[in-house]
Symmetry: C2
Subunit: 611 residues, 2 copies
């Protein structure tokens, strides 16, 4: 379908980072990657000789294998789709897996034409300590000797050694080996180890439906491995409100939610370590970001106030706690840093997104949003930041939609209506089994443009519409086309769900503009974060009135910026301070009690609103 629209540029999805590039056919994947801030290892200057920019083509057509690739890649690698990024061009929409070893350092997010790059200032530093000879008659108490050594050998004044780090000394080399590694955080030794041991950090984006983990080398900020898993809490309620209501009413449910999240996080940490061939005990620091509800659930904080106005969190400020108090299995004395929350429904994940994109410091007028079951929207203008949370619901994740499904192979992710024919593209390219968020938005947009839907969302007659009144549905793929399987359709009810979801998001944007008296057309940039936001077709989103009617070049899809913000905070204490500063500067606007909310929402649900 992409080929139809443009013969010369293609969309390239880089996974697992959820970054999408739009790239001319004559550019290499290496150039496409750089365009979205993905910094791949490349030493030879695209000569195909260093063989470091290895990628895996998951789906889509690409240029033929070059002699240089024939030479550097094994037949098995070639069979599995491995290619050199500098030697390969996309010939259509491609999905590309970026192996972590091909990334140089922290990915850089290109925002406002600037690269946000992060200097490594790890909160944990490793020091090599030379130990006194065991032949010395009285070497002194081990703890005191080590603290004195830090002072005399490194001018580091620590006054505390974590008790579990002390306990681990039995497993450490005997003093006869003459040296030991001390990991120091502030004025505390959090871990001991053999010298030299890696100093690793774990960044976690704890989402309502998905948990993403990143393993970083704290010495150089390099990402060693990344991994995403489903949040197992979802089995007990997709909706975060349902979960916190359960957890509040039943202490055992509260414990269960905490345990499920911890099992998943420990699983991610273990898997990341296996991938990177390191040990979880070498993880000496972690950062967790999530929405306020996930933050409170995993920390087992009181939830009552999140369930009633004014939906105030128990904690807004950043929090450092021992990993063991959370139940995270890493180095004995390691800490977990939780980024600050803004409000009950604007959490640390949004702060991380603002941190990663750097938009909060911009002098321009910017809307930044992270679309999910709850969509957080911030307006940056005149050096101020105002934020709202919109209850956009799970429609864009495929829930509450008759044939809806998650963005998984078989999902219709893109479609258009040509005459009375539906052309579609599925994830993975195989037969369709349902429709995911981006496909649903395309469908509503196309049906509206074709006059099948009116602005109020009513479904009118069309050869592909069947049923009557409230039971009407538009057939995307018929039973016949599916060889007897049930048809894939968009129902009148589905359209209503989309109207509510997109109306909520648009209301958030409008209320923010209204509160600052800023005209829609003054928005200089719209930054869209999150996986769904990155795969979203912008023109469809504008057509249905989910996003404001602005030239498409004012929109920027930045992928999982919350995870990137978590990584930045992991390797940089300056970024942690910045997160604290920015979160304190945010003016939170409670949407439901803002003047004119209901009127705006009523208008914003109409399809094509504002165009």
């Amino acid at each position: 379908m992409n080929e139809r629209r443009s013969a010369v540029t293609h969309e390239i999805d880089f996974e697992p980072l959820a970054l999408r590039a739009r790239c001319p056919e004559d550019q290499s994947l290496l150039e496409a990657a750089r365009q979205v801030g993905l910094d791949l290892v490349s030493i030879c200057g695209s000569q195909g000789t260093c063989h470091r920019c290895k990628l895996q083509v998951l789906t889509g057509r690409v240029s033929p294998v070059t002699p240089s690739e024939q030479q550097s890649l094994s037949p098995q690698e070639l069979a599995n789709g491995y290619r050199l990024a500098c030697q390969t061009r996309a010939l259509g929409h491609c999905r590309i897996n970026v192996p972590s070893e091909s990334l140089t350092t922290l990915q850089r997010a290109q925002v406002e034409g600037l690269e946000v790059s992060v200097a490594v200032e790890s909160p944990v530093q490793a020091y090599r300590l030379m130990l006194p000879s065991p032949l010395h008659s009285d070497p002194g108490a081990r703890r005191e000797v080590l603290l004195k050594g830090l002072l005399s050998q490194h001018q580091i004044a620590c006054n505390t050694v974590d008790v579990q780090a002390l306990q681990s000394l039995s497993e450490q080399p005997a003093p006869s080996e003459g040296q030991i590694q001390a990991s120091v955080r502030g004025n505390e030794v959090v871990a001991f180890g053999h010298w030299p041991s890696p100093q690793l950090g774990l960044a976690i984006d704890l989402g309502t439906t998905k948990i993403a983990g990143y393993l970083l080398d704290l010495a150089n900020g390099r990402t060693l491995a990344s991994q995403g898993v489903s949040n197992p809490q979802a089995a007990y309620g997709e909706d975060i409100i349902t979960r916190i209501a359960h957890a509040k009413d039943s202490p055992s449910d509260g414990i269960r939610f905490h345990e499920l999240a911890m099992e998943a996080m420990n699983g991610v940490a273990a898997d990341l370590c296996t991938k990177a061939k390191v040990k979880p005990e070498d993880i000496v620091e972690a950062v967790v970001v999530g929405n306020t509800a996930m933050h409170h659930l995993v920390l087992r904080l009181p939830l009552e106030q999140l369930l009633r106005p004014p939906f105030t969190p128990t904690i807004k400020e950043a929090l450092d706690i021992k990993a063991r108090d959370l139940g995270l299995r890493v180095a004995p004395g390691a800490y977990v840093h939780f980024l600050p929350n803004v409000a009950g429904f604007v959490g640390a994940d949004h702060v991380a997104m603002l941190l990663a994109t750097g938009v909060w410091q911009s002098k321009r007028v910017i809307i930044a949003l992270d679309i999910g079951t709850n969509t957080e929207v911030s307006l940056v203008s005149n050096g101020e930041i105002a934020s709202v949370s919109c209850a956009s619901g799970p429609a864009f994740e495929g829930s509450h939609i008759k044939c809806g499904m998650k963005a998984a192979p078989g999902a219709i992710e893109r479609l258009c209506l040509l005459d009375n024919r539906v052309e579609y593209q599925t994830i993975g390219g195989g037969l369709p089994t349902g429709i995911c968020g981006s496909g649903i938005i395309d469908a509503v947009s196309q049906l509206y443009l074709a006059g099948v839907l009116d602005a109020a969302g009513r479904m009118h007659d069309h050869p592909l519409v069947r049923g009557t009144n409230g039971q009407r549905e538009f057939v995307l793929v018929s039973e016949e086309q599916r060889g007897g399987h049930p048809a894939i359709t968009i129902t009148q009810h589905d359209v209503r769900e989309v109207q509510l979801a997109k109306g909520a998001i648009r209301t958030g944007i409008q209320m923010l503009l209204q509160s600052k008296d800023i005209a829609e057309q003054s928005i200089e940039q719209v930054v869209i974060a999150g996986a769904f936001g990155s795969y979203l077709d912008l023109s469809s989103a504008v057509t249905i009135g989910m996003l404001p009617p602005l030239p498409l070049d004012r929109f920027r899809q930045v992928g999982n910026a919350a995870g990137m913000g978590a990584k930045m905070a992991l390797i940089s204490i300056s970024k942690r301070l910045e997160a604290q500063t920015l979160s304190r500067r945010i003016q939170y606007i409670e949407l439901a009690s803002a003047p004119g909310f209901m009127q705006t929402f009523a208008k914003a649900t109409s399809i094509g609103f504002g165009i």
Copy 2:
């Protein structure tokens, strides 16, 4: 037997505090208690009208019940031996139980004629916080509101709230109740509770064989309850060296020892709370003292260095850790303070003893010792403190002695040899079943004075001696006297054990004197701590050469001073600093490598050494 020696003074043992008074027959038990620093509640000035100085007579003859007691005590109390201390006089050796409710404040130890009294300066302070009205539109994040309240209402600047204290907020009164209690330690809130909740402290003396616990009110320093239990680790090795060797070689044994100690400590804490009708969650601070090996076992610290010269601990300095990191079930965010150690075999319990008795600051020449399986001895002179540890072994606890037993009912605790007849006194006054430490010392002393033993410890002929050569034994209670049960005897081997044990202690004293070039007769005071040391007959101990030949009025038996030191440190941050200061000032002398050790030890094993 006491009556025989003196018609006018009697020994009175106050339990569970292990304090012994020697009291003229015309003095009341209230006066006797005050003589040993036991401050009983008495409001009426001994008129028998306030009925507050209630005690329980366990054994021994006392003066008849007075009309005032008839009036104030129930028939059941009278039947159980309850009396008013101001109305009762001892008519013989008595054992008295002091109910915790009869104690005013911290017991005071009389040392050097001075009372060591402690001003309460609790490390944890309770503050009442008035909360903003729940009607306020946005009360702010709970944590931040509470911290601001501490600052604005009490001028207390805290920057940390323990995460488990935050978690406990769900169980706390709703803000609508308008007030909450915050327990603050340094710059951290360690607990929240209803206002007003008690602020309790737990002091633990973690001994090799016995664990003593004390529950105190941190607001006024008053002891609410006390309790002693056996150390369950003893089942896996009476000897501390055996335990640490096992724990070092087998990590699972190490964990087991830690768990056993923690189960016992948690059991003591729970029992103390039941007695005092309070909740363990109200314990907001704990202090633990023990010898260095127990300290390292319960903290699961590396043990290798404790098993080989120079026997250096992993930690000497004081240590504060979260109670939960130890596994102590008290308030969520409470800390445990461990007093400092001096050396591998001079631990925090000895520091606590020096702290409680105050001798370390004396200008006089003082020997202070705590007799146990290991006996720690300190010499205070010219403002210096020198300490040694002596491997005195378990003989005085009744181990390795043929008919030996612990100081429990049925144990012969005192005896004398009159002509060819043995007169004895048992604990509880019942039939004898064995002999405990103080009885063994009396026996060796009496046999030596009667010429049955010579200075070398050889047993000579006597009508009550039977057997030949190495198999000889002196019959204290014959089979006939025991109605066919095996005789209770002192064997040649028992005498050898006593010689080694007392020789070790005396060697410690002599080596200290020698190191400072101080003559024995210059010792102005000998302070003897510990339960065994308090029940010991001083003249017997001097006769056998365990203690130096000094006038008996230079000796002072102070009971469980280590436990008292733990209590002082619990309620007073000044006392914690003092413990740190004194422990740093101690000059530790490694006995085995001190010049002349073997020669001194060889001499010190002879019975009657020095007299």
